[in-house]
Symmetry: C2
Subunit: 334 residues, 2 copies
């Protein structure tokens, strides 16, 4: 099955590029609200399931034990830009468990937030695991291990108790058995499990509503949603899609980006989960598609719609700031 074109890139007189993909919008009972393209094919959710991967941090009592507030819990769900406040919170999470950056097994990269990257270089520094966009998630994993009194070393491996708990949470929310035949290694070295897009959407619908979940899990999901709504800066960073959308819509929208063009989200009031993947892995198109889904399903006033439209139809400017084109959703998404 060929997925439809979801997003076009226009420049001057021509459509310059086209992004295909699939979109699933599902309610907490698993009923399809919208299905574009092949929503049954397994996709790696990558970082888009970080809010779900944070469930063991809450459910195990580790977050409470270490006194984590909204910022720490939001950072555990983050693909952050490596800005100084992100680094501070990640460091604090590790310190609460008696650890430091040397315990992180995510690898190091320069901050994606360019001013922070340049400031780090100007100071003569080089990045550590703390600057990895996943450091909050990994700090959370380490806290789960430490609170349980198990050796944290190797916590990124599929066989480690931390990843077994993460996998069990994903299996129960998606209703899918996650085996080696759908496993890959993520950018930060943990396993990433392929899940059909409609089951990912179901998982987020359940995560957003608590429907079909045990009380403990439903409470943990609500705690994570509240943290992301309260501290959206810690889920991504300055000017980033996830942060800007959650700043604008608060608890009405939870969205999380993943590598290779994946985006997941929840509209709790509407009781639906959203999961989408661009065939080609393009983040720019996944953002447009997610913004279009929010515009389609979330009732908004005029000001909110105007703010959202900046993400539905982003303008492209060149190095001189001249408007040279735009991204736009196709009719499939509208």
């Amino acid at each position: 099955m060929r997925n439809p074109v979801l997003v076009e890139v226009v420049r001057g007189a021509l459509t310059e590029s086209r992004h295909r993909g699939a979109v699933a919008v599902v309610d907490a009972d698993g009923a399809s609200v919208l299905a574009l393209g092949d929503v049954a094919q397994p996709v790696y959710p990558r970082s888009a399931v970080k809010p779900l991967q944070a469930l063991p941090l809450i459910e195990s009592g580790a977050a409470e034990r270490y006194g984590f507030g909204d910022a720490e819990i939001a950072l555990a769900c983050a693909s952050h830009g490596g800005e100084p406040p992100h680094i501070e919170v990640a460091s604090r999470m590790l310190a609460r468990a008696g650890l430091d950056a040397s315990a992180l097994e995510c690898g190091a990269h320069w901050p994606s937030h360019q001013p922070s990257s340049q400031a780090l270089a100007r100071s003569g520094g080089t990045p550590s695991g703390l600057h990895n966009n996943c450091s909050g998630k990994h700090a959370g994993f380490l806290c789960v291990a430490c609170a349980a009194g198990v050796d944290h070393r190797g916590y990124v491996e599929a066989e480690h108790v931390v990843q077994r708990e993460v996998r069990a949470a994903l299996e129960s929310l998606t209703g899918v058995g996650l085996d080696e035949d759908v496993c890959g290694i993520d950018g930060c070295s943990i396993p990433t499990w392929g899940v059909p897009l409609d089951r990912l959407a179901l998982a987020f619908a359940r995560f957003g509503s608590g429907r079909g979940l045990e009380q403990k899990r439903a409470s943990a999901a609500a705690r994570i949603r509240a943290a992301c709504a309260a501290q959206p800066y810690f889920v991504a960073g300055t000017g980033r899609f996830c942060t800007e959308i959650m700043k604008r819509f608060g608890a009405r929208v939870l969205v999380k980006t993943g590598a290779e063009g994946v985006f997941c989200g929840v509209l709790p009031e509407q009781g639906v989960g959203i999961a989408l993947k661009c065939d080609d892995g393009a983040t720019r198109a996944a953002e447009v598609a997610m913004a279009a889904m929010i515009a389609r399903f979330l009732p908004t006033d005029g000001e909110q719609r105007g703010a959202l439209d900046r993400f539905v139809r982003p303008v492209l400017r060149n190095w001189n700031g001249i408007e040279v084109g735009a991204l736009r959703p196709t009719d499939e998404l509208l």
Copy 2:
């Protein structure tokens, strides 16, 4: 017409992403050697035609007048990484015409070569127009204007004599009339003209063979090809596809990348030009497709084939250096 999948991204057990596109391989008489997908649709060549855009610099006598050697001419064809030697040569080109960076109208951005970007930040500097990947091309444009004794200001505008000459060169090589109905503004503010992919391939076949060109233009094309073969570092930079391929194959291959997944090339011995575009604008896939075309059409020995295979099937590693996947061409390309 839907273009075929040209490149797949595999991770663990699954194909994670897919890139569609079109490929045209054409000889200097315009005969099709290979056509995959819709090769008649106009695409913006973007930076992939920089070697053709450099023709007026040679044909006008400006390169000779200012004493330009291989490095300057190669840099006029470059999307460079902003490494210090690139900046030095661009500065020298401007100085020969009595100008400095303030004359550049391309806009500024941080070097794409990360160590150079970090070194610039460490030194307390900020980027100027010289660091723009197009600064060599723009320095060449400015030299054309100065050598002709015309006001260089506004040289990026379609109506300026420099852009009129560039457009005339593209029209004669492609055999296509370039009008406003196929015009966009490029990242560096000059016009980019939409050209059918098969006509772009024809232009490169002519550029690579001189067939069908006036003697003066054929000589200029040969001069540009020789400069890129002699100084491939100045066409891109450390570790970059264009540089690595031309370092390996010398005058047997000229390749040039463009934004939004465009790649053009010449195999002079085979008398063919190559033009390809990934629908979604992905450079990673355009590189794989171009490498596959070279492997398909250029006779190579075992060592050359091994070197090329690194670009035909690039390995993906995560932040810990673990091999997590690969890109690979589909059977369409092989």
